[in-house]
Subunit: 464 residues, 2 copies
């Protein structure tokens, strides 16, 4: 009987995940796409049949968040599973990295690419990086086997009075041209990057990567350059959308999603690949028709109102993620970090605070999301906290412009279920909720150790 | 050879439609539902799995309109295929019919029920009528074989200082109670109507009607009382939706839609029934959480901005209406009048102007919508005209309140494709569009003969 007991004990020690094949991961990450910009999220004139189909075949989130209100911090959080202040990848003065920045994602951060590589994954970053453009910060220093894309944003390296016509009317009159570099690996291969064909070329590269890696697990991170201004579409899409150039650009991204899913199907990888589509932050409303829409949500990019950070979120994994489900459960880009590592049988770093949660129970239709709280940072300051349906704003500020932040001695309070547009402050009627969220916020603030600030570091003048 | 020629000529005279079986028609008509209030139109916290599925199995419109900005005119237009001023069913002072109204839909108007009855259809009106509550105006005088529902709106017959607790906080402090009658045929069977169970009872009646009429063609008109304020849900739905009471009420309507489609499937009528879901006008924004959302569209009920008249529109007819299609083609409730009569092999009245179009080519996936123009009336005044993507506002006015209408010598102009939220007036840049729409408007005004006004007629004091 003893040996039988021994075998039973051994069986109990084998974790369930070992038995499962390691799935591939594809993160499709739009730039400045709004909550309301897809057909399946209610946009009346942008046509997104591929994303609508992806949602119909998978799980559509209505409470999925980017981890920050602007680009650099959002990406840092996605790839590290940590709130941006922890890695120093946010700032109260320079909100993102610029071409004169000397900082970047610190080497001691563990990226999703590194964690998956340790478990045998082939990894690729195809698209916009924006976590440091100096050699020591590029994707291949952070766990990616390959990189094809822009080191930072497509509206940088502006050259006044030069370049092609047809610039968006929303930039300063004298700025007509963006001299941004396109890189492969750590080499610049084109400058200025021909932005008209970026989405198309990213997609071709992504499909090639999928086909070349069908035999072993891979992680494809595809952070699109679009629909961040300045907007560019290829000739197949330019002038086609009823929504104008912004629509053209989103419809080309929709095409790109279709191509990626098609390649996965053709290579018979669809049933062993988790694909997740979302965006880095909300729509840049200041650009009017060149910016997107957050639907009924309030405000957009740059703000900690819902429109600034709540995003379309679509999970697709035929046979594993249930089809045709709309979920109101909460999720965040940082959760993708934890979820992917767990599914790969890897190790979530345990020597530092991790802000992501494992969404596997939700994604597999077996349970709820473990996330019930969201912390909304702007720079290094905690502006708002959501707990369940309640969201308390401790600081409010216009997305852009010169308005100073307004600190509220007693926070504003909104019920995001009944009032998703954050119209009616119900703080007075709910003192016990305020009390609870204040406690959550205080505990969180105590746990927050700021990383070395990266965004204020500048390249010395003599080296420029 | 002569006789052969004769036979050939005879064959040519047989219209194609005769060969087709007459389909059933079901019009599911919500009250004050907003463009953004369903899951498949982007609402984040109202759960509408049945309507989402109906859209996935059918055609979802993103440019479908009610024919008016408030209730009575909208319903008159749906049932007559004519703009409300033609039938006199609109007014610049009393915007809808009230319990003291002596007017109603004139007997010489031809309703959809009458036109279909002439082709052998059994017809039922189950829900809110609101086209005249005096005996001569009730549904059975207008072609319906049966009627079960309210003669007018559920917020009428107010009794101050009386009745149950739990009234919506948005009504005047002294009004707690609505003494509205529930009718069957021309008899009042309950007063006040128990509004908690109206949606449920309408649904049970509708399912019973479907099951009883499976052998011959029928027209079921199901104009829900909800989600018009005051909001009531049955105990199965009350307190369940994350969106609060408004969400409960919409989720119960969604359940109702599911019950109707289920009954059609069970009776094997799904492949011979065109079901159309829409609403009478946009959300009543003045009621805050008790009103709905127009998503990214501007304004709501009572206004001629898009949020006042653009509605969810879902067509379902398995095997005939293609599945999973999102269309940006234009449609309007008045088109349902023409489309249904044509599909039934009936006669569209040719002795009067008809403002609807036959949507059959679009609905069957064989062509486009014949509608390229929308006229937006408020009362008897033409406020705005849409032609293609362009919308010109000749008069603007706040939805409710005391603001006077503002007439624009030169209209405001919006491009609804690029700017669906009507944010940026582009009149100055598009003089040729203004010119064209002015011509369309002038021609239309010339053709408009106002019907005898019905909404100002009052019951004499001695008869009250």
């Amino acid at each position: 009987m003893r040996w039988l007991l021994g075998v039973a004990c051994l069986l109990l020690l084998v974790p369930a995940s070992v038995a499962t094949e390691q799935p591939n991961f594809v993160i499709l990450f739009a730039d400045d796409l709004g909550y309301g910009d897809l057909g399946c999220y209610g946009h009346p004139t942008i046509r997104t049949p591929n994303l609508d189909k992806m949602a119909a075949e998978g799980m559509k989130f209505t409470n999925f968040y980017s981890a920050a209100e602007v680009c650099t911090p959002s990406r840092a959080a996605l790839l590290t599973g940590r709130l941006p202040p922890r890695s120093g990848m946010c700032s109260n003065t320079r909100r993102v990295l610029f071409p004169d920045s000397a900082g970047g994602l610190p080497a001691d951060e563990v990226t999703l690419a590194e964690a998956l590589k340790a478990k045998g994954y082939t990894t690729a970053c195809i698209g916009k990086w924006h976590l440091g453009h100096l050699p020591e910060y590029l994707p291949m220093k952070h766990g990616f086997d390959s990189f094809f894309g822009l080191p930072y944003v497509n509206d940088m390296d502006r050259v006044p009075d030069k370049g092609p016509k047809g610039r968006p009317a929303f930039f300063e009159p004298k700025v007509e041209y963006w001299n941004v570099p396109l890189m492969r690996g750590d080499k610049i291969i084109e400058r200025p990057a021909d932005q008209h064909t970026l989405t198309k070329r990213y997609t071709e590269d992504a499909v090639k990567f999928i086909r070349a890696n069908k035999e072993k697990p891979f992680f494809l991170y595809l952070p699109h350059t679009m629909p961040h201004v300045p907007l560019f579409a290829s000739k197949e899409f330019a002038g086609k959308s009823p929504r104008g150039l912004y629509g053209d650009v989103v419809e080309e991204i929709d095409w790109s999603v279709g191509e990626v899913l098609k390649a996965l199907r053709e290579e018979k990888l669809d049933r062993k690949t988790l694909v997740f589509f979302t965006s880095d932050n909300g729509p840049w409303l200041q650009f009017n028709e060149h910016g997107g829409s957050a639907g009924l949500l309030r405000d957009g990019k740059g703000s900690t109102w819902e429109g600034g950070m709540r995003e379309p979120g679509i999970a697709w994994w035929p046979g594993t993620v249930p089809a045709g489900v709309t979920t109101q459960e909460m999720g965040c880009t940082m959760d993708l970090f934890v979820t992917a590592i767990k599914l790969a049988g890897g190790e979530v770093p345990n020597d530092r605070p991790i802000d992501g949660f494992d969404l596997t129970p939700l994604l597999t239709g077996k349970g709820k999301s473990p996330r019930d709280t969201m912390f909304y940072y702007r720079g290094t300051k905690l502006f708002a906290v959501r707990h369940g349906p309640w969201k308390a704003h401790f600081i409010t500020q216009a997305a852009y412009g010169k308005d100073a932040p307004v600190e509220h001695d007693s926070p504003q309070l909104y019920h995001l279920g009944r009032d998703p547009g954050e119209r009616t402050d119900v703080a007075k009627d709910n003192p016990e909720v305020i009390k609870q969220i204040k406690e959550i916020a205080a505990k969180h603030r105590d746990s927050m150790k700021l990383g070395e600030p990266q965004l204020e570091k500048l390249i010395p003048a003599e080296k420029k």
